[in-house]
């Protein structure tokens, strides 16, 4: 029975990874109605920036805050400079631009930092708290950080005027402009926030999986699945989706079908859920006017 709980615990930790990246994906979606396929690579690149700072001697929290700020600015810049020219292009063309960004970040990271894995420090204590062995202290810390970010984002979107403006700009740009919202900058802000959330995700993930240019490639699929499972317009759903995917994958792999096919089965289950509930567990079903 012990092993079962250890699998669940390990699943919660990987689930936390998926949840944090899923959160960034949902963020961008809420702000721009686009799914940013380059999210994982941007997070990885931000983590490398943090690593360089720590390697140069800066204390962890200084590097953490600086990286979040740099990533925020970077996200804004990318939106204004790279995404803006294709704002009105067909959806798939924008997707190709995202894929281009993905490939650029991955390649640059490999070129600048090489492919040798690097350790990334954890700000959390290394001894298990209260002897709780099922989830490592960093794992608990990372999950905690994800939940804090989730709450902050929820509060931002729900209770602040800026958050409302961003949601309006994404849902109905034309009307938003009419009421004086600068839609272009709202989009840029959305990208900046998503990049910042991604950077936090990356820095929480790296101590678990080790930092290398391909750190996030596997995570993106799971994060995407988690975000859709929870409902692409629900940040809370994305986080819950992440944990569900993480635990499900582990349990399926350990008890049902073995590691070879656990990914396939997990995805089949998720798609099955989506067929039953096409908008995800917590998503809003869109009613279109005929």
């Amino acid at each position: 029975m012990n092993i079962f709980w250890e699998q669940v615990g390990s699943g919660l930790v990987t689930g936390g990874i998926y949840a944090s990246v899923a959160l960034a994906l949902v963020m961008i979606y809420q702000a721009t109605h686009q799914v940013n396929f380059a999210q994982g690579e941007m997070a990885m690149f931000s983590t490398y920036i943090a690593w360089s700072m720590i390697h140069a001697g800066l204390p962890y929290w200084v590097a953490f805050v600086l990286t979040v700020l740099i990533s925020f600015v970077g996200g804004v810049v990318i939106e204004r400079v790279i995404i803006r020219p294709v704002e009105n292009a067909p959806v798939l063309s924008v997707v190709v631009v995202f894929i281009g960004l993905l490939v650029i970040f991955n390649s640059l990271a490999g070129w600048i930092y090489t492919y040798t894995i690097k350790s990334f420090p954890s700000p959390f204590p290394s001894q298990p708290l209260f002897g709780f062995r099922y989830v490592s202290p960093h794992g608990i810390g990372a999950i905690g950080v994800t939940l804090v970010v989730l709450v902050l984002l929820y509060a931002f979107f729900r209770f602040t005027p800026l958050g409302l403006a961003m949601r309006a700009a994404a849902q109905n740009p034309a009307s938003a402009r009419l009421v004086g919202i600068r839609v272009g900058w709202m989009l840029a802000l959305g990208w900046g926030l998503a990049a910042a959330v991604g950077a936090v995700a990356g820095m929480m993930v790296a101590p678990i999986v080790y930092l290398d240019p391909n750190m996030m490639s596997g995570v993106l699929l799971y994060a995407f699945a988690a975000a859709l499972l929870g409902g692409i317009d629900s940040p809370g759903g994305a986080v819950l989706g992440g944990f569900i995917v993480g635990v499900l994958e582990n349990l399926v792999g350990a008890y049902v079908i073995g590691n070879d096919l656990k990914l396939s089965l997990a995805l089949v289950l998720i798609v099955g859920v989506l067929i039953v509930k096409p908008a995800g567990l917590f998503g809003k079903t869109l009613v279109t006017r005929v």
């Binding site: 490999g110 062995r133 596997g218 582990n250 590691n259």
Partner: protein, 403 residues
């Protein structure tokens, strides 16, 4: 005696000798060879999931740069055309065909991967192009009877796994073995070697085999499964990133089996340090190349020379990454073969010289390990030594095993 009478015959003799001299130093060139250059081809995964291995190509290129700066081999510079195939066999086929048919390289050198090399195996042998010193430990490459133009280099994965199996049978005959392996040709080749080495006892001793894909973020769940199986011996067949994760996770969840780690991932600096040196204490592996992050070799003149070479030619790279001394040593093996060819740089002679290496000792190989080939033995390296990690360094022990 009139010396004048000897003058004419002497003159004729000297004249004959002088006209024969160029014929003696006759040059035989295959494609891609001139008086000043030898063109060779290579495919490496510089992108995609296996991009970590691209480091090998980088190290080899840096070594040849040094050789070229020192004047080349017999006055010829080495032009290594290393192409990215992203570890995708269709791309390997395309790039290899380009190198052979368009760039007219003399031979293919050190290409990486098993499926990638399989995809061009028949083609290169049909075209009689040497497929030399492949960067893969698959056992299938040493088959001179059917594929006389293909030769591997490193000790095969199966041989290494059999050494672990023998060690387990000898020292832990009642062990319950748990295996973690990468779900591809490399991992499965090791697993086969382990199973073959355990013989009849494999079925009873191996209690759990779990695999992972390189696209997975962590192997933590697999380690938990292995712990749950009750295994007390852990055979860890993983690439560096996952090896570090496995070693750390096993320790953190309180599972302390006797661990055998494959030598692809036993670098102290690149794998054990990130995992946590104290967590890797007691891990057993094998070696045939000196580990640059191991203090044992700090004062070894060959190691000092290697580190200086890295500083000069690969300043942004980490000597602790095992792929660097690997690439360095393969490149040196090739230089030895090319030197032995002299001016006869045909494809046939390249293979001939490669198949006649006798007791070649290279600076970064462990003392006592030699490269040997013959027309019936296409396994240049077949020796390994066991080593155990003491929490700081690897301590070699036991005899040098293998041929």
């Amino acid at each position: 005696m009139s010396y004048k009478k000897l003058l004419t015959p002497a003159a004729v003799a000297i004249g004959l000798a002088l006209s024969a001299a160029p014929a003696l130093a006759a040059k035989h060139y295959g494609p891609g060879v001139t008086d000043t250059e030898i063109k060779i081809g290579q495919t490496m995964p510089y992108s995609g999931p296996a991009s970590a291995y691209g480091q090998i190509g980088k190290a080899e290129a840096a070594y040849f740069k040094m050789i070229n700066e020192e004047g080349g081999i017999n006055g010829r510079k080495i032009d290594l055309k290393s192409m990215d195939d992203g570890y995708s066999p269709p791309k390997t086929v395309e790039q290899t065909r380009k190198l052979v048919e368009q760039d007219n390289v003399l031979f293919m050198f050190g290409s990486l991967g098993t499926p990638t090399n399989v995809s061009v195996h028949k083609y290169l042998n049909a075209k009689k192009v040497p497929q030399l010193f492949l960067a893969t430990g698959a056992t299938m490459w040493g088959d001179p009877k059917h594929f006389p133009w293909t030769m591997g280099w490193q000790p095969s994965y199966q041989q290494e796994a059999r050494i672990y199996a023998a060690d387990i049978l000898k020292n832990h005959p009642h062990a319950k073995i748990g295996v973690l392996y990468q779900n591809d040709d490399y991992g499965k080749d090791y697993l086969k070697g382990l199973v073959d080495g355990l013989g009849a006892k494999a079925k009873t001793m191996i209690v759990k085999e779990v695999s992972y894909e390189t696209s997975e973020p962590t192997v933590d769940s697999q380690i938990v499964s292995l712990k749950g199986s009750g295994a007390d011996v852990f055979v860890n067949i993983t690439t560096p990133k996952f090896a570090a994760q496995a070693i750390r996770q096993a320790y953190d969840i309180g599972w302390h089996p006797i661990q055998y780690l494959n030598n692809v991932s036993n670098s102290t600096g690149a794998v054990l340090k990130p995992a946590g040196l104290e967590k890797a204490k007691g891990v057993i592996s094998t070696a045939y190349i000196k580990d640059a992050s191991d203090k044992e070799w700090d004062n070894d003149p060959d190691m000092v020379h290697f580190k200086e070479w890295m500083k000069k030619y690969m300043p942004n790279d980490d000597p602790a990454n095992n792929f660097n001394p690997y690439g360095y040593t393969v490149a040196q093996t090739l230089v030895h073969v090319l030197k032995a060819c002299g001016n006869d740089l045909t494809r046939a002679n390249i293979m001939k010289q490669a198949a006649h290496i006798k007791n070649l000792e290279l600076p970064m190989l462990l003392p006592g390990i030699k490269i040997n080939t013959s027309p019936s033995d296409y396994y240049p390296l077949g020796q390994l030594q066991l080593e155990r990690f003491d929490g700081q360094n690897w301590a070699l022990y036991g005899p040098i095993m293998g041929k």
